[in-house]
Amino acid sequence: MLIAIEVGLLILVPCVAFVALWLRDLMSAVIVLGAYSFLMCLVWTGMGAVDVAFTEAAVGAGVSTVFFIAVLFNTTRNITFNPLDVSSKLVALVACLGFGYVLLQGVSDLPDWGDPYSPVNAGVSTYYIENAYADTHVPNLVTTVLADYRSVDTMLETTVVLIALLGIFMILKKDRPAQSDSSDTQAHDSLIIRLSARFIAPFIQLFGLYVVAHGHHSPGGGFQGGVILGTGLILMAMSMGMASAKRLLSIPRMIILAAVGVLIYAGWGAVPLVYNGYFLDYSVWESVFGSMARSHSMLIVEIGVALTVMCGMYGIYMSLVSDGGMQEGL
C-alpha cells in the first residue's frame, strides 16, 4: 500500500536535488535543499526507518538550513558564473556518468527490495530483533542496538560531534575579541515574531527532553533529542538576540557541558572495568537496578549523547553566525 507513496516520492526526490544544484543563487539553492530534506524524511519513513526519519526531521527542519544561512549572512550569495569554462565541466560530467553507469550495472545483482532473507537481513540483525527485548527490556530495537550492542560505535560518533565543535571554534577563533559595548547591537524583530518564538521555545525544550527520555518506547533518543534541544537554544538566540541566549547558556559553560556529555558516556562505560567486566558492559549494574540494569544504563548514556549534541549544534550555530566573535548574529 505504501509502495505507491514511495514510488511517487522517489521520483520527486532527484528532481528537487537537481533543482537545488542547478539554481545559480546560493540562498535559493539552500532553501530548496531544505525541501529535499523534507522529502527524504518521508522516503525513510515509508521504508520503516522511523528513527532515521526523526533525525532527518530534526536536522533538516531546524539545523542544517540555518547553518547555511548563517554562513551566507556574513558572506555573499552571488555565484561567479563562467560560461566559457566548458572543458573542465565536460571532463567531470564524463567521469560522473562513468561512475553512475558502473554502479547501475551492479543493481541487477543486488538482492530484491524488501527481501527478508537477503544477506543484509540475515545474520546478526535477526539476533538483535529476536533477543533484544529479553536482554534489555527495551522495545525500541534501534535504541537497543545504538546504546547497548554497538555502544562503542555510538560513543565515538558522539566524540566526533565534540571534535567538530572544537574544530570550528579553533578555525573561526579571533585573536582579539571584537570591541563591543556589551549592549545588544542586534536589531530586534517585530513583536509578533518575538512573542511566538517565546511561546514556542519552552515547548521545543520540553519536547526535546521528552524525546530523550521516551526514546526507549518510541522513535527518539539522545541524538534526536539533542538536536531538538539545540534548536530551541538557536531559536532563542535568533529571536531574542545572542546576549540573552548567552545568559541562558554561556560559551565556556557550553564547551564544558559538551565535554561532560562524552565523559558521562565514557565514565558510565568505564565503571564495569572496576568489577572485572568489559568496557560498556552494563550488566554489572544488575546488583543496583535488577533486571532493568541495561535499560536504565542506556538512558544515562543517551543523556550524555543529548548533552554533547545539544551543545554541539548550539556552539556551531553561534560561531558560524557571528564569525567566531560571539557578539552579534542574525
Partner: protein, 102 residues
C-alpha cells in the same frame, strides 16, 4: 477508509510536484521559500497518514510534532537574512566584474 487516506497522500504528493514549478521558476528567493514552507507543512500530514497506513500512529506522531515545532525556524532565519541584505533579486556576475558586496 484506508484507501481514501492513501489516495489523499498521493494527491498531496501530486500537488507537491506542482509546487516544484514555483520553486524552479519563482522570480525571487522568498517565492521559493513560500513553496518550500507549504511542502514542509504538508509533510506533517503525509507523515501521519503513513502512520495510519502502517497502523502504528503513536510511533509517527513524534516526528510530525518535531516538524510542527521546528518548521518555521528556517523561514525566520531567511527573513532575518533579508533585514541585512536587502537585495532579493540575485545578481549573477561574470568573472570580469566580480563584485564583493561585503
Amino acid at each position: 477508509m484506508m484507501g481514501l487516506f492513501l489516495v489523499a497522500a498521493l494527491v498531496l504528493l501530486a500537488f507537491m510536484g506542482l509546487l516544484l514549478y514555483r520553486i524552479v521558476v519563482g522570480p525571487t528567493v522568498i517565492d521559493r521559500l513560500l513553496a518550500v514552507n507549504v511542502i514542509g507543512t504538508k509533510s506533517i500530514v503525509i507523515l501521519i497518514i503513513m502512520g495510519i497506513l502502517f497502523d502504528r500512529v503513536a510511533m509517527f506522531i513524534d516526528i510530525a510534532l518535531a516538524y510542527g515545532l521546528l518548521n518555521f525556524i528556517a523561514s525566520l532565519a531567511a527573513a532575518k537574512y533579508f533585514r541585512k541584505h536587502k537585495k532579493i533579486h540575485h545578481v549573477s556576475t561574470m568573472p570580469a566584474e566580480v563584485s564583493h558586496d561585503h
